[in-house]
Symmetry: D2
Subunit: 186 residues, 4 copies
């Protein structure tokens, strides 16, 4: 598997899950070639596209509400020939009733509102041995997620990942923002 | 793919490449099911074992000189049923002449001496489009490696990865040591 | 001012606020030569001793309940000739009623229980333009503190500090655990 | 001492040593009220201005070659009433012969060229028990500095400092670039 590099994605001004965090997050989803996966708040689609490459015989659904982001996801889907990636436009809580699939893995990277409700609604769409993986830049959202997951009897582990890129002739270090990766299962 | 967790490996007192750094390092090797890979200074064997799972139709060679570590690699090989993993006992520079394989990917995680000579010797055993990936906790070794690779006309990228694990009821943060991941290719 | 180095303190097995975090935490307390300061849960006394050096014409009170730690504070007080440092033995919430001083600055580094009650009780002992500074290794305690401070109409800033020490001939990087420094004022 | 916050400095587009790194760097210079200090490559002047506040009975010299930066230093000097701060315009190596002062402490934060020559030239202007403190974002410059200092029989310690600021209602973490602080003495 050659993982896609950040600079290969079309991204505009939409925030994107960075390479290292994307790879680590996906590694925690235990993706098999035939996995069925969900990306809630897909942004540029970088996670959904990489997911789609990791489950060529499976299926990926990406939910996104922003028009700009939807366009990017579509372009990235085309660029990387992701035939098994379906894009759904809308608010996660509103489109939920139209999705009658049970997932092997669910990724939530977006930091939009309604996190508690989204977790509660989509936890029902997770297979018994499935995983939910979250990325948070926000301490409040991390706290909301762990409280909600605990109430739903999920177990979880949390890591904080700080990546700095060494650039240029002088090997200067440039930091990405630290991200909490939360991995939950029942 | 379910990636192996740190606590699943037998490790004794031998230092081990930690989960996140192991996964990221392997992701940079572009491993295909039939890849032929080398792990120089294999330590507990955690990288070699995970490699072996990622190339079930390929082959992994692990070089290690320490008796204690060799025993651990063997046990981990057995625990994880790595039939495609061959362990070679010895100094990397001494056993080199007995290895007449050209590799798709080479991982160097050990911080032993002779880094410059090891890179020079094993760069010859890398396929034209192959990758070398290094882990360094040491600024001096990172510098030695980049100087050597530059002289050999390799291109490279470097990231520094800091991982903290959130543990316990109070969600306390415990830091792993920061690791430089160096990815080189020609 | 020559700041005291970590290795100069007597410390036993008691956890100690590390040098960089100690200096940054104290810098946020705006300490003047005649400041009156409080250290709740003083541990080895490293913060209280450094405080005492920064306010030679002022006064420092250190509260600690553990017998082992109390002995260390006393020894460090003697080693660094801190005549303006008074040590009080006991639980912060129990000894509170015996302390009829209004402080310029209060430091809370301990991660013991009762954080909410301690903040509420000691916020009353802070001068109108005084500062409270906290160190947290725990996300839960950080969250408890910010919620409590908000309810008490405090304003605050938070930084997360990760320090790695470069050691040895090979310049190896060893990480301290990341610490949240919370600075609060009204 | 109330330390100056980043947002209080006039800064334009000139890169500025950030608050935590500035405070830690200055703490390593063992500044006394009558210290005589030098800031080579002063940029916005944030370090020189804070220095000047820490040695009110001493003196600070700031060297800077860039016109834009010189203007900022002058404005910050005025804003913070730094009567003991003298600004010298020019290349550090060229103005060196005009500076016949022996310093208690020298700070080098700029990452300009000629680092080796600058260290050699200014090491002669350091009191026997004086300190040199450096900030580096660049691995190459860190390496140049440690090699040069070693050849000059300096001893040194190095720390890497990563600071993230927690901002906004959702407590989002934003990273500053990691900085190496090098403290050298003979």
């Amino acid at each position: 598997m050659r993982y896609i590099k950040d600079e290969e994605f079309l991204r505009g001004d939409t925030p994107m899950t960075k390479e290292e965090v994307r790879i680590l997050s996906l590694s925690k989803l235990d993706i098999e070639p035939n996995s069925v996966l969900l990306d809630i708040g897909a942004g540029t689609g970088s996670v959904a596209v990489q997911m789609s490459k990791l489950c060529p015989e499976g299926k990926v659904i990406a939910i996104e509400k922003e028009e700009d982001a939807l366009e990017l996801i579509l372009k990235n889907k085309e660029k990387f020939h992701c035939n098994n990636l379906q894009i759904i436009k809308g608010e996660a809580l509103e489109v939920e009733k139209h999705i009658d699939i049970i997932f092997d893995g669910i990724f939530i990277g977006g930091s939009g509102g309604n996190l508690e409700e989204i977790i509660k609604a989509y936890a029902k769409k997770l297979k018994p041995n499935g995983k939910m993986v979250f990325n948070f830049i926000s301490l409040k959202n991390l706290s909301t997620a762990t409280n909600t997951l605990k109430a739903l009897d999920f177990k979880f582990t949390i890591s904080q990942i700080s990546v700095s890129k060494v650039k240029g002739e002088h090997q200067m270090l440039f930091a990405n923002n630290p991200i909490f990766i939360l991995e939950a299962w029942r």
